[in-house]
């Protein structure tokens, strides 16, 4: 009897510990959001979105150049990365079992785990070193490199969910293989769109690959061949800089960045759940 009680107490104690672990693990998200709101919301003004930073010593100013830069760099990355990722994903799932498909999948998994700074260095050797100057294009290239494996894996998973009957029906109608693949792609498209959105959300926050590709800049720029500012770079520079005005801008820029990323994330999750009702 005594032993039994002891066992039950032990079981309950372990559950208690686990609940404590949940609390500790969840806490940082709220702490981070709270400090972002507390320190960043104050300078979240109209000015912030339309102006360049004020000279050091003056308050106010904004990071419009960085917002624009992020849009351009991430946009460029998406144009390169998403089609490539979808193509590779389609191949890996529709031609399952071929050796090339297996290799593609393995390489994508390895790339998925590659530190983003290494990818940045690679973009540097390929684009910056050959052109001999930093450019927004090199930044886009680095981010695209990160996006391909992510988009590829989601595409592959979703295409696998498409019932085989659909493929067989298309083939039975005398469609060639590529049109069959097109039918499959259209069926899986909504899921692929959300997967791509998630990839966009992830690379928007990447800093390390941009450090020595897009480099950052203090001015408005539309030229892909020139260095360009980006939100994460601004946060890094201003957070590690010595001036309180910079710190304030870094907090606000982080707040904007995180709002964008979390919105994309939650939105994508919500849409996926509604459409597929997957029990994750």
């Amino acid at each position: 009897m005594d032993r039994r009680a002891l066992r039950r107490v032990k079981s309950n104690a372990m559950v208690g510990l686990m609940i404590a672990a949940v609390v500790v693990a969840v806490l940082p998200l709220f702490l981070i959001l709270a400090s972002l709101l507390a320190r960043g919301a104050a300078s979240l003004t109209f000015d912030f979105f339309v102006n360049r930073p004020a000279p050091v010593g003056e308050t106010g100013g904004g990071v419009a150049h960085a917002i624009l830069g992020t849009l351009i760099i991430v946009g460029g990355a998406s144009v390169i990365g998403i089609p490539l990722g979808i193509g590779a994903g389609l191949y890996a799932s529709e031609y399952r079992g071929t050796r090339l498909a297996w290799v593609t999948r393995f390489v994508a998994d390895v790339l998925n785990g590659t530190p983003s700074i290494v990818v940045g260095l690679l973009a540097w050797t390929w684009v910056v070193a050959t052109q001999r100057h930093f450019s927004a294009l090199a930044g886009s290239f680095a981010l695209a490199f990160l996006m391909v494996p992510m988009v590829m894996r989601t595409t592959e998973e979703l295409v696998l969910l498409v019932p085989d009957a659909l493929r067989e029906a298309a083939l039975a109608l005398g469609y060639p293989r590529w049109r069959t693949t097109y039918v499959v792609l259209r069926t899986a498209l909504p899921g692929i769109v959300t997967g791509s959105l998630l990839a966009v959300a992830r690379v928007s926050g990447e800093t390390a690959p941009l450090l020595f590709t897009a480099l950052g800049s203090e001015y408005f720029s539309l030229d892909l061949q020139r260095p360009m500012a980006a939100l994460p770079l601004v946060v890094y520079k201003y957070a590690t800089g010595p001036y309180p005005e910079w710190h304030a801008l870094a907090w606000t820029a982080s707040l904007v960045l995180i709002l964008v990323v979390l919105t994309l994330n939650l939105g994508a999750r919500f849409v996926t759940r509604q459409r597929f009702g997957r029990s994750e």
Binding site: R7, R8, K10, S11, M14, V15, L17, M18, I19, A20, A21, V22, V24, A25, V26, P28, L29, L31, I32, S35, L36, D109, V110, N112, G113, T114, P115, S116, I117, V118, L121, L122, W124, T125, W126, A201, R202, S204, G205, E206, T207, A208, L211, F212, L215, P232, V235, Y236, A239, T240, H247, A250, W251, S254, L257, I258, V261, L262, N265, E280
Partner: protein
């Protein structure tokens, strides 16, 4: 990719050979480069973070799959997974202005007072230090380990659990004697995946580790990590081509390590899912 990195690293590899890893002199002006402090910093922060993150992440994963009441499972998992979506610069910013002041004010003095007899917890307290970087890494890798091991645990057949309970085991005994051993290899995979993340994490570590080419016994002292060295020095590699090449060499090392770590993790996770009889 491997080729390109190798080519860039060749000049430095030629000149320093394998001694690159063990030498601790880093002097761009004189053209001496040794990666030892960065290698140690990387390993130390990652392993410390792993030691803190694993119990936490497993606790959460087990609780969510075995004990939590139905309605809270998904929201809690979602919230923790959102932590994985926060950009690492934001972690770095938060680390500099919120976490480090908190740690240096409350936690470190306490550790020093209680455990000061150990060399790790003695010496002057710096804000940005190896330990601070490890703490922020912990927060960052918990979501990864948690979500992968949760999937593995969900894959344990319910029959196993029911059999244990039917034999009169308490719920914790069912978990510790049946379910966790069953999922062991997959959980190892999740942990190693987390290690891979921690090794390659750049921004948050760069902002918190203190960036000093030095190996110190105390965890309160600043250090350096491989990714941070690259991030800080590459854009203006002052030591000329050999400096640049040394940094690429370091990236090659980092890349090789993460590839190995990730491949190991994948194989372990695959083994579990193959044993389950599906992909």
């Amino acid at each position: 990719m491997l080729l390109e990195l190798t080519r860039g690293a060749l000049p430095a590899a030629d000149r320093f050979g394998l001694g690159f890893i063990t030498s601790s002199v880093w002097d761009p002006v004189a053209g001496h480069f040794g990666a030892w402090p960065a290698v140690v910093g990387t390993l130390l922060t990652s392993l410390l973070a792993l030691a803190m993150a694993v119990p936490l992440a497993l606790g959460v994963a087990i609780y969510l799959t075995e004990f939590a009441p139905g309605p809270i499972r998904r929201p809690v998992a979602t919230v923790i997974e959102l932590l994985a979506a926060i950009p690492s610069v934001v972690y770095g910013l938060w680390g500099i202005f919120v976490l480090v002041p908190f740690l240096t004010k409350w936690v470190y003095p306490f550790l020093e007072a209680r455990l000061g007899f150990l060399p790790f917890f003695s010496g002057p307290i710096y804000g940005p230090s190896v330990l601070s970087a490890a703490v922020i890494l912990t927060i960052m890798i918990v979501p990864f380990i948690m979500s992968v091991s949760r999937e593995v645990l969900l894959a344990v057949p319910p029959g196993q659990r029911e059999a244990a309970l039917a034999l009169g085991a308490t719920r914790w005994e069912a978990v510790s004697t049946v379910i966790v051993p069953y999922a062991k290899s997959g959980i190892m995979g999740a942990v190693i995946l987390g290690l891979g993340r921690a090794l390659g994490e750049t921004m948050a570590v760069t902002m918190l580790i203190g960036n000093r080419h030095d190996v110190s016994a105390s965890l309160f002292a600043p250090g350096y990590s491989m990714a941070a060295v690259i991030a800080n020095e590459f854009a203006d590699a002052a030591g000329g081509p050999i400096h640049e090449s040394a940094l690429i060499y370091m990236a090659l090392l980092l890349f090789a390590v993460t590839v190995l770590v990730n491949a190991a993790a994948r194989l372990m996770i695959w083994r579990v899912s193959r044993a389950r009889g599906e992909a």
